[in-house]
């Protein structure tokens, strides 16, 4: 973040026309990511963007880095392969709520538990955009879509809860419109070693417009955005008049005045166990009412690709570098004269 940054946003743009619907939240996120990368002092060629299939997954075409627009749901697996093969790269996963949580749910949770060094941006618009408007695993119960004309009967995932339950070492949430906050979260995720999971609320103005209006609308947003900041008491509202307490019944929203600021939970993203982070994730079911944004968890744990690389070094230290001649003889040989 210096004046002498070697890149500008334009360096991360490609010659491909950006093909999202006008007004789509994806544009904002693209800009946020490009701006963020431009400010890093990391060679462009060391970034790899892997996506699945969905509107959001066209992202790599617009990033002048290495990338792959792969197949539906498999981006975390492919990205894991890239990261395991070359720990020096920075590997990003771009995915949607359908891509990551419906068809790709298994790869997602396994990448998280393995703590492989990939940064996952989940564009959650609570709908299938690309296939034109079916409900997704984050759509609310009762939602009427093309495939649920009488209302969806599928209880949705809370992506943050799911990630925490899957042993994720970094879990955060932000929202497309809030570019400053997005930048902050990107920075922390980028710095995190291991799998980082960011849920980004993203408006699909064509098939699910205003899904996040409670968090973005002028009238309601202050009352509903709970910003989690490490080391700070969790308060929110126009005047910070609301707060969160955590106790034997989980997390609750309270009036700060009622309980006193001292009883308000001080956010600890570094807590070794995710129990409290999980409790915070339960404050909202989807983006309705007071909803936490920010970093729920950010702890350090050995990463998969480094441990793998370490095993190679160790094995070579112990056994010497692989010798094919020795190997083919390792089961015993005999000689025919």
């Amino acid at each position: 973040m210096t004046d002498t940054a070697r890149y500008t946003r334009a360096d991360f743009q490609t010659d491909q026309e950006v093909r999202w619907c006008p007004g789509c939240g994806d544009y904002t996120i693209l800009a946020s990511v490009q701006n963020f990368l431009a400010e890093l002092d990391v060679p462009r060629e060391n970034h790899v963007f892997i996506s699945g299939i969905g509107c959001s997954s066209r992202f790599p075409y617009y990033m002048n880095t290495y990338g792959m627009h792969s197949i539906h749901g498999r981006a975390p697996a492919i990205a894991s392969g890239v990261a395991a093969a070359n720990p020096d790269l920075h590997v990003w996963v771009i995915t949607g709520d359908g891509d990551a949580l419906s068809i790709g749910g298994n790869h997602l949770i396994h990448a998280l538990r393995r703590n492989i060094n990939i940064t996952i941006l989940l564009f959650n618009n609570q709908i299938y955009g690309l296939t034109k408007g079916q409900y997704s695993p984050t759509s609310e119960v009762g939602k009427r879509t093309k495939t649920s004309p009488m209302g969806s009967i599928d209880w949705p995932f809370n992506p943050v809860s799911l990630a925490l339950g899957a042993e994720a070492s970094f879990v955060a949430r932000t929202i497309d419109m809030d570019r400053a906050h997005t930048a902050e979260i990107l920075t922390a995720a980028y710095e995190h070693e291991g799998a980082a999971f960011i849920e980004i609320y993203q408006n699909c103005n064509v098939f699910n417009d205003k899904a996040f209006i409670e968090l973005t609308g002028r009238e309601t947003r202050d009352a509903n955005r709970i910003y989690l900041e490490h080391g700070k008491p969790i308060v929110f509202g126009k005047e910070d008049e609301k707060g969160v307490v955590v106790g034997p019944d989980g997390a609750q929203v309270v009036d700060v005045a009622d309980v006193g600021i001292d009883r308000i939970q001080v956010h600890d993203a570094k807590a070794p166990e995710p129990a409290v982070a999980f409790a915070l994730s339960r404050l909202s079911v989807g983006p309705h009412g007071p909803t936490p944004l920010g970093i729920f968890r950010d702890v350090s744990r050995p990463t998969y690709e480094r441990q793998l690389a370490d095993q190679i070094v160790q094995a070579q230290d112990r056994q010497g570098p692989g010798d094919l001649d020795q190997l083919v003889r390792s089961l015993g040989t005999w000689t025919v004269e």
């Binding site: 491909q16 075409y61 990338g67 627009h69 392969g81 093969a85 790269l89």
Partner: protein, 625 residues
């Protein structure tokens, strides 16, 4: 029991040129181990050999049941053999179930050696015997020898320190000792192995004691005084090791990694009978091998696609059900034109089928198991040691043509073994690749600009400055690789992908005809039927039949001269462990009215079956068609 292991009173063994022995017992009886050690001694002794382990069920069944029987067959000879043998000359049966399950295969007049201690009422019942076969005369047509192996093992291991249930664990070594006596195999290699494996422990002492006891029991017991010897084979000079197909395939991948200078990445999910490739590679971290035990087969290939993108020699391995799951991602690799080796160790049947058995029924699946027009090279290993070379060949094609390659092996090759003359490793083919390093058209880098000869696109790996590009599964514009919905471009690319694979035909060895060039009958095979076909053809030729054999390593594309070769023969017989899959490909391509010989019993062909079919065709040629 005395300590002496050799005696001067040893009777003269009968020299024989080959013998097929099957060790059979309960899964818990250690028959695989006894067989493997017998094989190892024979190998060190210089015999040619071939083995075939046969695990009948997935899970250990309760001791004593038919479902729990495990067998290991070894064929040793003083000449160059091709198969583990059609029918055992000698069966070792550790319990009634093992006897019952295997006796039908033994040649009439063959030797049957039985652990008589196990033939109590309970075990007989479990095996479904109404009367005791050792007593009811039902084994009359065999040469039956019995030994109270459990009793003798117990006595032998006294004082070694093993106790309780452990004691009887050594009885496989007793059986091994006895067989070593019968076939005059040296004990020392076994004892060395025991020492190495169990160190200075009571178990080592017990196993050695039981081994010697078995040997001595043969030596001192009248009934066992007819022994046999198989002289060393006159194999080509060289250093040999005994190797199973999965081991050799794993080493072949490592050799390809060294020959290409690329680190090996193997993303896989355990599945019978492919798991041991993953297991073998996991032990080779010092070769820089990265194994990734993925959450499923999709992630197995997914991680490998990622590693290929990152510039590794990437492979993934599985069996049929797993190949099914990999289909979609394989199609992505094809579209992205990334090098990737996909190993399919075929097993029996559709769905879960017969997971531990052999079949060659994934051939058409390998050819056509992807949506859209998605041609890929398909090659197959013929024998356990051939898997080494085929793995290198797969890597060669993948890297040179920037394409996934499907390598077919099967459950028979995977687990059976043969002596392998160690290749001259300094003469591995040069598989080095040139990653793209700079622009290839003026100032720009076109990720789909092609080598005019191979039609391969350049391989630019992440981390290389200036070559940033995006791959993907949508149709792409030739050259730029940009997404393209243009109709003519799609047709162009479809034909181009087809042509790229087709051109490989000129870059592989033409087929060679073995046997009688002027024969009327050609036997055409692929994969693990090699040994049985070759042996069957040899048998028929010994009986004056004129017959030729062509065995395919490359199935897609076919070698350039195949059509011409087929045209030379009036009749083409295609034996396959499926319902005629290669046969369909040959018919469609060359319009040849092939004759399919099909076997789908979870078992390899016997040489005799092939020979018989050949003789039938040659005798009754006119009626056959």
């Amino acid at each position: 029991m005395s300590e002496e292991t050799t005696a001067d009173t040893r009777p003269e063994p009968e020299p024989i040129d080959n013998v097929v022995i099957r060790f059979a017992g309960d899964s818990g009886d250690g028959m695989q181990l006894a067989g493997t050690r017998f094989t190892a001694s024979s190998a060190l002794f210089g015999n040619d050999l071939a083995t075939f382990p046969n695990f009948p069920a997935e899970i250990r069944a309760p001791a004593g049941t038919l479902a729990g029987v495990s067998a290991f067959q070894v064929h040793i000879a003083d000449w160059d053999i091709l198969t583990p043998g059609d029918s055992p000359d000698c069966l070792v049966a550790m319990n009634p179930a093992a006897l019952k399950a295997n006796i039908g295969d033994v040649v009439k007049g063959g030797l049957v050696i039985v652990n008589s201690d196990a033939f109590d009422e309970r075990n007989l019942h479990k095996a479904g015997y109404e009367t005791n076969p050792l007593e009811d005369g039902s084994l009359e047509s065999y040469h039956l020898l019995t030994a109270p192996m459990e009793q003798l093992t117990k006595e032998a291991v006294q004082g070694t320190g093993v106790k309780g249930r452990e004691v009887l664990r050594s009885k496989n070594f007793f059986a091994l000792g006895l067989m070593s006596w019968m076939y005059q195999r040296p004990l020392d290699p076994v004892i060395d192995w025991i020492d190495q494996k169990f160190g200075d422990s009571p178990v080592a002492a017990a196993n050695t004691a039981a081994l010697k006891a078995g040997y001595n029991y043969g030596l001192t017991t009248e009934a066992f005084h007819h022994t046999y010897s198989v002289a060393p084979a006159t194999l080509p000079a060289g250093e040999y090791t005994n190797i199973t197909g999965n081991q050799s395939l794993a080493w072949g991948l490592v050799a390809a990694s060294q020959a290409s200078g690329l680190p090996l990445f193997y993303g896989s999910y355990p599945i019978t009978p492919a798991s041991s490739i993953l297991e073998a590679l996991a032990r080779l971290r010092n070769f820089g091998v990265r194994t990734f035990q993925a959450e499923d087969e999709i992630a197995g290939i997914g991680t490998s696609v990622g590693a290929a993108f990152a510039g590794h020699l990437a492979a993934t391995g599985t069996s049929g059900p797993g190949l099914a799951l990999k289909s979609e991602a394989l199609s992505l690799a094809l579209m992205a034109e990334l090098p990737l080796i996909v190993v399919d160790v075929q097993r029996g049947g559709p769905s879960t089928g017969l997971p531990t058995k052999v079949e060659q029924s994934d051939l058409l699946f390998a050819m056509y198991g992807r949506h859209g027009e998605a041609p890929l090279p398909v090659i197959a290993a013929a024998t356990p040691s051939d898997a080494f070379e085929v793995a290198i060949e797969a890597a060669r094609i993948a890297l040179k043509y920037m394409t996934p390659v499907i390598l077919l092996s099967d459950g028979y090759i995977a687990n059976s073994s043969e002596p392998w003359k160690l290749p001259d490793l300094s003469r591995l083919p040069d598989l080095t690749v040139d990653y793209a390093e700079g622009p290839n058209q003026g100032e720009s880098f076109l990720p789909y600009l092609r080598d005019p000869e191979t039609l391969a696109r350049p391989w630019a790996v992440p981390g290389t400055p200036g070559l940033e590009h995006r791959l993907g599964g949508l149709e792409k514009q030739d050259g730029t690789g940009n997404v393209s919905y243009d109709p003519m471009n799609h047709e162009h690319m479809t034909i181009l992908r087809e042509e790229k694979i087709a051109r490989i035909a000129d870059d592989i060895a033409p087929v060679e005809v073995f046997g009688d060039e002027d024969a009327e009958l050609l036997v055409l095979g692929w994969g693990s039927t090699f040994g049985a076909i070759r042996a069957g053809v040899n048998r028929a030729r010994k009986r004056e039949a004129k017959v030729a054999h062509v065995h395919l390593r490359h199935i897609n594309p076919f070698p350039a001269n195949l059509g011409e070769v087929l045209a030379r023969f009036e009749t083409v017989l295609i034996p396959e462990l499926n319902r005629g899959q290669l046969s369909r490909l040959i018919r469609a391509r060359y319009l040849v009215d092939t004759i399919s010989q099909s076997k789908v019993q979870g078992q390899p062909f016997k040489a005799a079956e092939i020979a018989m079919k050949i003789m039938q065709l040659l005798d009754g040629k006119d009626e056959q068609r």
